[in-house]
Structures are given as structure tokens and as C-alpha cells.
Symmetry: C2
């Protein structure tokens, strides 16, 4: 699922759903932002394009867009949910601890680790959530403190 209006529209239609003006505004707001946004930030951004948009609708839209895979939930710092546009495939995110920018990367060969973990714990691993933190090219030159792992 790429982040394209017509594709999103088709994905919605396949479930009997519609790409309304409000949903379009939410979609655009997420696409335009360089970093992950909380629902409230999405709301603020989307209202510039669709001022009568309600926060309720933002929440509902985020849920719908998540369901069809048009966006990705990211674990923010402090509060839980932030949203970024989903890339084309199963991807993971790097969050910049300097500026909050979120970038996706596709390198995802977890087999070695999941196999080792399965061996060590006896679990049958079915899924993984991986999120990296670092400093983007712009912030990397400054010497910010890296955050602790959590």
C-alpha cells in the first residue's frame, strides 16, 4: 500500500468505505509532515486544509487508515501513538532523537535474531516490532545526548 490518494481510495472502496474530504485532509497532513505526529498534531495540520474537521473524525480516520495499512503507528516518547505514512512494504522506522524526524528503512533481516530468541526462550516467534533511534544527517553533526534504550 503506497501513500497515494487513488490507491487509498480504492482500498477504502474495497471495504465499502469512502475517501471523504476530511479523510483526504488527514491523509495529506500525514503525508506532508517530515516526522511522526500525534493525533492532535494531525488534527491541527489537517484543519488548515479542512477547517471544519473534528478531532473525533481524526481519530476515526487514523483508525481506518491504519486498518487498510495506509499509515504506520509509531511509539512516541512519553505518550504512545504517533503516525507516519506507511511505505511500500513491511518496514521499520528510525526516529531522530534530535528533531523527531522519522525515516523508514527496509533492511529487515531479523531471522538470525528471531531464531536465536526462539531457541533461547522456547517461543514460536510470529512477529516483531523494531524501532531504532539515532541522529539524522542534519542533527548528527551536533553532539546531542543519545537517549537510553526503552
Amino acid at each position: 500500500m503506497s501513500f497515494d490518494a487513488s490507491e487509498v481510495s480504492a482500498a477504502l472502496a474495497a471495504r465499502g468505505l469512502r475517501l471523504t474530504r476530511q479523510r483526504r485532509a488527514v491523509l495529506d497532513a500525514i503525508a506532508a509532515a517530515p516526522c511522526s505526529q500525534s493525533p492532535l498534531q494531525v488534527y491541527d495540520a489537517a484543519r488548515e486544509q479542512c477547517p471544519e474537521l473534528g478531532l473525533t473524525t481524526v481519530y476515526r480516520t487514523l483508525e481506518v487508515l491504519d486498518e487498510i495499512g495506509a499509515l504506520r503507528r509509531v511509539h512516541g516518547d512519553g505518550h504512545c501513538e504517533s503516525f507516519v505514512p506507511a511505505g511500500a512494504e513491511h518496514g521499520h522506522t528510525v526516529v531522530c532523537s534530535g528533531c523527531g524526524r522519522v525515516t523508514e528503512f527496509t533492511a529487515c533481516d531479523m531471522r538470525g535474531i528471531t531464531d536465536a530468541a526462539a531457541l533461547e526462550t522456547g517461543y514460536r516467534i510470529t512477529d516483531h516490532f523494531l524501532q531504532l533511534t539515532g541522529l539524522c544527517a542534519g542533527c548528527g553533526t551536533r553532539d546531542d545526548q543519545p537517549r537510553r534504550d526503552r
Copy 2:
């Protein structure tokens, strides 16, 4: 930092903090549970040992114990924060999608992945959060639906 009362006590003292009866109860409650617990669950469990414990204190204690590294925050499903005792070293967790049990594993050679991600994104990777989902030995025999990645 292991999950031992005297060590925790020492770690607290190093910061001018104390291991009170209430904090001890919270610590024990987390140590005793086989799986991750929300603050409210910790509160309920700890009150059996210390009935006059307040929920406020649980939140404050969880924060303190997190700061000194005595426990680990886990991203629960739906709401964000759950807590498990921290193992001896930098570890990661596997959460059973069948019963909620949490197990730690130490296999953590992320270098291949972080290097690849750094190359792909231009970030300098400083940290990572990894959490696996799977079925523990007990639940693995049943055929539950694996969860989707998030």
C-alpha cells in the same frame, strides 16, 4: 542491575532515595508476576502486601524504578505502558500473544541491522527498541492467529 532488594536499595541510596515499604511492595509485585503488568495491576497486586498503598505512589515508584533501571517498560497492546522486572543486562522481551507472558532473551546482535539501516537512511543509530511477539511453549500447541506487525 539485577532485581534484588539490597541492590535496588543501594541504587536508590546512591541518588538519595529510599527503599520504603511501599516501594518494596511494588518491587515484589512486579517480581512475582509471570507477565507484564499495567500500573493498575501492579497496584492491585502490591496492595495485598501493603493495603494502604496509593495508586499515586505506584506511578511514582514505577518512574523511580525505571530511572534506576530496576524494571523495563513494555509496549502493551492497546494502551502503552506495562512493566516487567529488568534482567541483568540489556535485554529484549518476547510477549506471548496467547497468554501475555513475557520472557526476556539476551540474543541481541543488532549490528548487522543497525549498520544496514544507517547506510540506508544516513542516520547515526544510537539506540534500538525491539520487542518480539510469539507463542510460548504452552500456547504454541494451540493454533492462535498470529498478530499483525505494528
